[in-house]
Amino acid sequence: MTDGPLIVQSDKTILLDVDHILSDECRRQIASFAELEKSPEHIHTYRLTPLGLWNARAAGLDAEHVIDILLKYSRFAVPHALLVDIAETMSRYGRLRLEAHPVHGLTLVSHDPAVLKEVTRGKKIAPMLGLQIDDETIIVHPGQRGFLKQALLKLGWPAEDFAGYVDGEAHEISLNQDGWTIRRYQELAAEGFWHGGSGVVVLPCGAGKTIVGAAAMAHAKATTLILVTNTVAARQWRDELLKRTSLHEDEIGEYSGSKKEIRPVTIATYQVLTTRKKGIYTHLDLFDAIDWGLIIYDEVHLLPAPVFRFTADIQSRRRLGLTATLVREDGMEGEVFSLIGPKRYDVPWKEIEQQGYIAPADCVEVRINLTDAERMHYATAEQEDRYRFCSTTETKRKVAIALARKHKDEQVLIIGQYIDQLDALGAELGVPVIKGETPIKEREELFNLYRAGEITCLVVSKVANFSIDLPDATIAIQVSGTFGSRQEEAQRLGRILRPKADGRTARFYSLVARDTVDQDFAQNRQRFLAEQGYAYRIIDADDIEDDIEDGIEDGIEDGIEENN
């Protein structure tokens, strides 16, 4: 019995004791083959998945190595069956290979005829394959590379892809580290991606994913297509690239609702790509417009279905997915991995926080007691109207206003789902409201004013959930959300995580009506952050006054400490 930091569970999860002296060393070792599932304060959970093990094989690790690491760090005896399973799983990788044949183009090759037979008999796979050239080689229909890989993965026979990537049209891009330097983890992430070929990088909000993208472009030195969530984000990407790389304004194009520029580096929105005219996606040609050397998917967790399908077609191009929160309530995480590529880099949020690259945050759930009248109204409301009702009550509005007034000296964001509610808040506080119908131009102006500190409070709808960079926002007040969406909660917290000049702690208020579905949804929403180690405090709305006083002092003290 060793006294290691790892506990290997029979359900293939691995628990890592963070307080153990060897935990750092051990974490680096297991990160290469196990996937980080959650990282709360004491025990981190990793999971052994076939995908993770195959990626480890692809990266050159063998089963022996993986088993050695587990045995070395494990606190208790590791179930033998699990070790056998690891060896078996890993041995499945590479028995099938995708190779570029000089005459026949893309071929599926295996030295194990039985395996080849097994997969070709699959109903889904057979139509993707052409003639069998010999016992070991079968032609793959052109354009099926992505689908075939996906289908093989589902069958449990992952194909090792030797067909390689196209280099794309070369275009000189380099990082312009003038007055700033790339951070260690950003560099590691970009390198991890480049060596893996394609894949997803997971970094917390505010940790500088754009820089990782820029560094990847500098590796590729080729034309790049960047897909982002909305036009505001597109402009931010452009500004950031101009600042951080050798690219000039005329090299970067915007492909959005308003502009349709195609340049060596083109930034397009998901929305424009998925616009349909008479049932046809008119803009998907963009993928073929230039011989792209790299395609970057920003906020890859939002990848819409048509782009999913199209991505399967472009498997020979390098693909980089960026996200902070790869959780989807629709359970499509796996699809992202199989189409874009495996997770290449992932760090716990709290670790980046410790390094000071994102602001520490204090998450507060404010429990609001509804009035008796409201409770009665809630009790008699139709099932489908209940969430809307309880999350937009009068009482909640009053609490939100009180909170906003309390923090009037700081940069405050009020975030919500229901436009009526937001309009009412905006009117009462006398601050602008940004919502879906607000023109892009006006949005940008308002954000600029906010960044400049001329406006200290903004009310925003879910259009500001992602990618909006507001460095000085320190207080977020969430009044309502998209039901139980975990990633929305995390992304909203992300809006206030840019490190503050004075090192102050950001604060995230989530207003929740007690004893209603609001509370149930809130619990699910908070789960992702809780798993990242963000412990929510719960306070009663009635206690707000006192708490805020204390909290502000705490925050300032924390800030001072860190500055020292």
Binding site: H42, T45, F76
Partner: protein, 721 residues
């Protein structure tokens, strides 16, 4: 023959008899009365089969070779057709009385020959005529090919017609190299086969056990793996039992666990179905699970006792049973037509425990080796050629690994101690139980090791288990806290327990969760009452509650205007009236109902069965009856009287009654054409819709389908047979 066998036994010294008993222990029970009795027993077929099963392949082959020789044979003859080394084997066989001496020569007990069969080692019958083997030199082309096809058995060949066979066959027949058995079958005489085999019975005579090869393992790693297996097995046992306690599966009608329940259980444990079936079987053996009277499969109180024992005792109690059982869990789900069920009646196989012991004993001789399956199977084939079964060996090894007798395929220290009877030392090797948990902000708690029983039980009610293994990951949810409150915990006691048990501070959201649920829990109260009293006059209600006359009704006030009672509504009304109140009854919707003037039972009429008694008949009737009887007698003097028809229920009742009384009865029994015949039978039992009874006509036990029984009457009324 047997007399000389007995003589041979009589000639044995005490020592030799002792050795015979040691080698064939079945001869000892019961102890034979004299040597003739011993001879009879030792040459009986069952005993000889047991003795044969105890032979290894070499011994068995030599015995087979001996059977190719005619009695009596000499040692030299036997060695000539086998090998010189067979000398020692012959001695062994003689010691075991499978061969006995007749002067200088030897004989086989006739049952040994019967057991080995007509064609020992694939050899045909002796030739009655002398064969000139020199003729083979001049044999026609193809003749040798024909012989070579038959030489290693079976010594039989088919042709369309012996008389019109091709010239080669004809030549072989003419020269006695083949014998025509009938018009189509040809036999190869034993002498010819032996000549072609070069004088030896066997192509290769395997004389020593093949060595077992495998992968080398380090004992330390083996023990680590084994201890992981042991703790996993104990955990599976506990989990399966707890799971079935929550959701008991219902046993199949034929006994045993249904396929769907097995699948569900396997999913719960996170193992495959063969493993789940095995765990269930072992628990069933240990009496920790039982098929209850209502067909639910439930843990027994023995399980609760088992839980309190040390891990070592828990393991040992189950593994010992596994070693001894004749049930083969590997058969579950295997059957040909229908699948064999775990815990079902079809799993017993003779000889499995002997094979198990032999296999484990073999493992003790190859420490630090994970034997290759095929090499182990080869070895067992030599050690016990008639009893080994490759599939069973695979299963035994698999189960030994699950149990932790082996680790990484090699015998563990614990397994060795179990087999050789040393101190197990499992308790020391298992990780120390921990008495604390770590609670995290996401409402999960982790026990970083096996928990003490007390804390594990407590946590089991407080939280749901998310992941198991060396550690346990729990999650607190609203429903898990509610469950704890249902079990009589209070919000305060839960907080207290967590504070005491958790090494980390209890996160605030969890405290809120507990107090929120505790606050709401029990706000609605549900109870049981048979009747109620309601009255808008609260004073009157108060008066009733204080009425001495009504004290024993135990009326409970649940609201100022409502009382409830456990007595039936009619009784309550009567009592109230007796106490000079004026109650009125209302129905479920609050409408007054007037009291019924006449009382009627609520249940359906069920008049008792009428058992008719004969009233004294009038003389006229008797005379008429006698006349009719005579007439009938003449008309149907050969036809038995029909048994009075009874209804199916009456038939069953009466049959049961007669079974109890053990009386003979006559039944009317319809055949498939509807013709009714009378049978005189002794009823024995009723099962699955049939009457099992001894039929007087045949004297045999027969089954009668109850729906076909037209009537039953006591035997006296039946015509004499």
């Amino acid at each position: 023959m047997s007399s000389s066998f007995a003589d041979a036994l009589r000639a044995r010294s005490d020592q030799e008899i002792l050795r015979l008993f040691a080698a064939r222990p079945d001869l000892l029970s019961p102890v034979p009365s004299d040597l003739s009795a011993l001879a009879a027993r030792a040459s009986s077929m069952p005993s000889i089969m047991r003795a044969r099963d105890a032979l290894n392949k070499f011994e068995f082959d030599v015995l087979t070779a001996a059977a190719t020789l005619a009695d009596p044979f000499t040692q030299l003859e036997l060695l000539r057709i086998t090998d010189k080394s067979a000398k020692a084997v012959l001695a062994t066989l003689e010691e075991r009385a499978l061969v006995y001496a007749d002067g200088e020569k030897f004989r086989l007990p006739s049952n040994v020959r019967a057991l080995i069969g007509e064609n020992p080692a694939g050899l045909g019958p002796h030739s009655v005529q002398k064969i000139n083997f020199d003729l083979l030199e001049s044999a026609p082309q193809g003749a040798l090919d024909v012989l070579n096809k038959m030489v290693w058995g079976p010594p039989r060949g088919q042709v369309a017609d012996v008389k019109r066979a091709n010239p080669t066959i004809t030549w072989l027949l003419e020269n006695k190299f083949l014998i025509a058995f009938d018009s189509q079958t040809l036999l190869l005489p034993r002498e010819v086969a032996m000549h072609l085999r070069g004088g030896k019975v066997f192509k290769e005579l395997q004389q020593s056990a093949p060595s077992v090869s495998g992968v080398a393992r380090k004992q330390k790693a083996v023990d680590l793996a084994a201890i992981a297996n042991i703790s996993t097995f104990i955990r599976w046992s506990e989990e399966l039992t707890h799971h079935w306690s929550d959701e008991p599966p219902t046993a199949l009608r034929s006994g045993g666990l249904g396929v769907r329940d097995l699948k569900r259980t396997a999913e719960h444990l996170g193992v495959d179905e063969t493993c789940a079936a095995f765990v269930a079987e072992v628990l069933f053996l240990g009496g920790l699970l039982v098929i209850d009277t209502d067909d639910q499969i439930l843990p027994t109180s023995a399980f609760d006792l088992w839980l309190t024992k040390s891990s070592e005792d828990r393991w040992q109690s189950l593994v010992t049973l596994w070693l001894e059982t004749s049930r083969v869990a590997g058969l579950v789900g295997k059957g040909d037509s229908k699948s064999v069920a775990a815990l079902g009646p079809e799993l017993d196989r003779a000889g499995i425990s002997g094979l198990k012991r032999a296999l484990l004993a073999l493992l003790t001789t190859i420490p630090e080796i994970d034997p290759a399956l095929t090499s182990l199977q080869e070895r067992m084939k030599f050690e016990m050629p008639t009893r080994t079964n490759n599939e069973y060996i695979t299963w035994i090894l698999r189960e030994a690994e699950w149990l932790g007798i082996t680790g990484q395929g090699a015998l563990s220290t614990f397994g060795r101690a179990l087999i050789t009877g040393g101190e197990l030392g499992i308790e020391r090797a298992l990780p120390e139980p921990v008495d604390h948990i770590l609670i995290q902000a996401d409402n999960s708690a982790i026990a970083p090791g096996p928990l003490t029983l007390e804390i594990a039980n407590e946590m089991g009610t407080l939280a749901d288990i998310e992941s198991r293994g060396g550690a346990t990951v729990y999650r607190f949810t609203e429903s898990s806290i509610r469950r704890a409150l249902d079990h009589g915990k209070t919000g305060e006691s839960i907080r207290e327990f967590l504070k005491k048990t958790s090494k980390t501070p209890v996160p605030q959201p969890l405290e809120y969760l507990i107090s929120d649920v505790a606050k709401r829990h029990g706000r609605l109260r549900v109870g049981h009452a048979n009747s109620y009293i309601r009255c808008e006059d609260e004073g009157l209600i108060l008066q009733i509650t204080h009425d001495k006359n009504l004290e024993d009704l135990r009326l409970r006030k649940i609201a100022p205007q409502v009382l409830i009672a456990d007595v039936e509504i009619s009784e309550l009304v009567v009592r109230l009236r007796d106490a000079h109140y004026l109650p009125a009854m209302e129905n479920g919707t609050g409408i007054l109902i007037s009291a019924p003037a006449i009382r009627r039972a609520k249940s359906r009429p069920r008049p008792p069965r009428i058992i008719t008694e004969n009233t004294a008949p009038t003389e006229k009737i008797i005379l008429a009856a006698v006349r009719a009887l005579r007439a009938g007698e003449k008309a149907t003097s050969h036809k038995p009287r029909e048994v009075p028809r009874t209804t199916a229920n009456e038939t069953l009742d009466m049959l049961n009654q007669f079974i109890e009384e053990q009386a003979s009865i006559t039944i009317g029994y319809a055949d498939s054409n509807g013709g009714v015949s009378n049978r005189l039978v002794d009823p024995l039992s009723i099962s699955l819709g049939t009457l099992v009874a001894r039929d007087h006509a045949t004297g045999e036990i027969a089954q009668f389908r109850i729906p076909r029984i037209t009537g039953v009457s006591p035997a006296q009324s039946a015509p004499s047979e």
